[in-house]
């Protein structure tokens, strides 16, 4: 089981059915308020559905945090072209492992969220783009979809409502870049995942040039609760403009790593010390990546803040995709920066030169520092190079690679100095991190 013992600190909305016997089955779903939101939405106008989502203050859970209701309102319902719906289940932001649980333990919640999205934009086809590494989940979703068809919850004239909706899974094949929405669209068209210039936005011209409603798994999974209990009730769980709950994936140096559902605005230190049981061995906190490796790193003393999109933004970082990576005092920030950059250099699709070359050069410079061949001038060089990538690429991967580097260079210069003076190289060789036993 991937989910934790429920904590009294959690507010379980999306994860409320986790732990029920056979929670992925349609029968369990129906017995626990499943598809009630669809029954309600089918009697609402598309405008009313979108208004409810706007009232919920739900923001995209994939990373960017864009207001979901507004995104839905951009899809032209009266377009002569058919609309389609795409779920981004290409979960691959380092630190993030929440969509896995949502699909594994409650696949019908996702299907219902998609159906309501379909009603809102008058779309009758939905695709779940799942990363190739999650093959067991693709098969699992296929079984849930098949069960929904068999029992009349997908297909033509669903439950006699006159609404038709088809859902398909689509396998990725290993590419972080395909989590970027426009690259995902190229990928679903059978091409290399290369980002597209925006505008036009996917809402207007997405998959196959059709108006496309595209959201993260968790975003769609929040929709049934919003329609069932009302947007205002969902909004009230969080903070102003940051509605509801979200799944927080805690990893790294904590006693109880795991995925926890928290209301937006939950204090970060409480998440580390109480939800995740604190840092092993009584060691001190050094730094936190709040929402996946693309987010600027926060120093320990910057972490006493509530976790919502706007507060994190003000603190110079991001809430991102909810992948919180906790690093204790034994962590070498230079090696962390190198590992993160190796990832971005490997995953850059190569389309935009500042990203392709920038990530590669940053990796090379960090590598030579860790190997003891760095020099003082490498520190400003890293910062300078990274800053010159910002805003100069089609998609956010360039920024995503640059931002953590800039933050580590600016916040931990002394760790780089230790490498330049030869002190750190030796101690790094002796560093043997202990296994954390969950």
């Amino acid at each position: 089981m991937l989910y934790n013992e429920p904590s009294p600190l959690e507010v379980r909305v999306l994860t409320r059915r986790f732990g029920l016997p056979d929670s992925a089955s349609l029968d369990t779903y129906l017995a626990h308020e499943g598809y009630q939101a669809f029954q309600k939405a089918v009697k609402m106008t598309p405008e009313a559905i979108i208004e409810e989502v706007k009232a919920s203050a739900l923001r995209g859970r994939g990373g960017a945090g864009f207001p979901t209701g507004m995104k839905w309102s951009f899809v032209p319902r009266n377009s002569p072209k058919p609309r389609v719906l795409v779920v981004n289940a290409d979960e691959s932001e380092p630190g993030t492992c929440k969509d896995r649980l949502l699909m594994e333990y409650d696949p019908h919640q996702l299907i219902e969220g998609m159906m309501i999205g379909g009603l809102a934009v008058d779309a009758h086809r939905g695709y779940v783009y799942i990363r190739g590494e999650y093959r067991y989940l693709i098969d699992h979703m296929d079984r849930a979809i098949e069960e929904a068809y068999r029992k009349g919850w997908l297909g033509k004239n669903i439950q006699g409502t006159g609404f038709d909706f088809d859902v398909y899974t689509h396998s990725g094949a290993g590419a972080y870049e395909c989590g970027e929405e426009t690259a995902l669209l190229d990928s679903i068209e059978g091409k290399r995942g290369i980002p597209r210039m925006k505008p036009p936005f996917p809402a207007v011209a997405g998959a196959w040039g059709l108006p496309t409603l595209l959201n993260n798994v968790e975003t769609f999974c929040a929709v049934p609760a919003i329609i069932r209990d009302g947007g205002a009730a969902f909004a009230a769980l969080g903070t102003p403009k940051n509605g509801g709950t979200r799944l927080l994936c805690i990893s790294g140096h904590v006693n109880k790593p795991g995925v926890y559902e928290i209301p937006l605005g939950f204090p970060m230190m409480k998440a580390i010390n109480e939800l995740a049981g604190g840092i092993p061995g009584g060691r001190k906190l050094k730094a936190v990546i709040p929402g996946g490796s693309s987010c600027p790193v926060l120093r320990a003393e910057e972490c006493d803040i509530p976790m919502d999109y706007d507060t994190l933004m003000k603190a110079g970082s991001m809430l991102g995709s909810g992948g919180m990576v906790v690093m204790d005092e034994t962590t070498c920030m230079v090696r962390a920066a190198l590992r993160i950059m190796k990832f971005y250099a490997h995953e850059s699709c190569g389309w935009c030169i500042p990203c392709r070359e920038g990530t590669t050069w940053l990796r090379k410079i960090l590598e030579r520092i860790v190997e003891g061949r760095g020099q003082k001038s490498d520190l400003p060089l890293l910062g300078d190079l990274a800053k010159n990538m910002l805003g100069r690429t089609f998609c956010a991967l360039g920024d995503a690679a640059a931002m953590p580097t800039i933050s580590i260079v600016e916040k931990f210069p002394e760790e780089f100095e230790a490498y330049f003076s030869g002190k750190a190289v030796e101690s790094a060789a002796r560093h043997e991190p202990a296994f954390v036993t969950a």
Partner: protein, 161 residues
């Protein structure tokens, strides 16, 4: 070229699942599912997928070159993927990867002489809260210690001796 009856059924359904005339969309899923049966992306498979999806073989080749899970060479019967990205790194993922090299006696993207195992250092695979994580073919293993790793490998070896 034909595949198992189950896969043929899947492919027939897959080609119907995209808007009419958009069969090219099936290229990536078809390649990865077919690769499970052929072991790797052979020249013949490229031609076959091109034919079925109505594209040129060049259009299939350029896709194969892009996605990291599409392989142009045979791998071991058990493809062992060890994540060393940040969350795994912090709790011993890198040490686990080096342990795997020693245990299997091969390096990154190499195959053991008996063809049973291949090894790959991979990027984040979405198991961060249960790190360090590995995937053997499509099976996830969480909170893997060197001892647990050895037990997994020994059990697979025994199955085939």
């Amino acid at each position: 070229m034909t595949f198992s009856p189950e896969l043929e059924t899947k492919f027939a359904k897959m080609l119907q699942s995209y808007p009419p005339g958009r069969e090219r969309s099936a290229v990536v899923p078809m390649l990865i599912y077919a690769q499970d049966e052929t072991g790797y992306v052979t020249d013949e498979l490229v031609e076959e997928v091109a034919r079925r999806c109505g594209v040129t073989s060049l259009q299939v080749h350029e896709v194969v070159g892009y996605y990291s899970m599409l392989y142009r060479k045979p791998r071991g019967k058990y493809h062992v993927q060890v994540c060393t990205n940040i969350s795994c790194l912090l709790v011993g993922g890198e040490e686990l990867y080096h342990h795997a090299e020693k245990k299997l006696g091969i390096g990154n993207k190499q195959v053991t002489a008996d063809g049973l195992f291949s090894l790959e250092e991979v990027e984040c695979m979405g198991a961060c809260s249960w790190a360090p994580a590995i995937e053997i073919n499509y099976d996830f293993h969480h909170a893997v210690t060197p001892e647990k790793f050895d037990a997994l490998i020994d059990a697979l070896q025994k199955k085939h001796s």
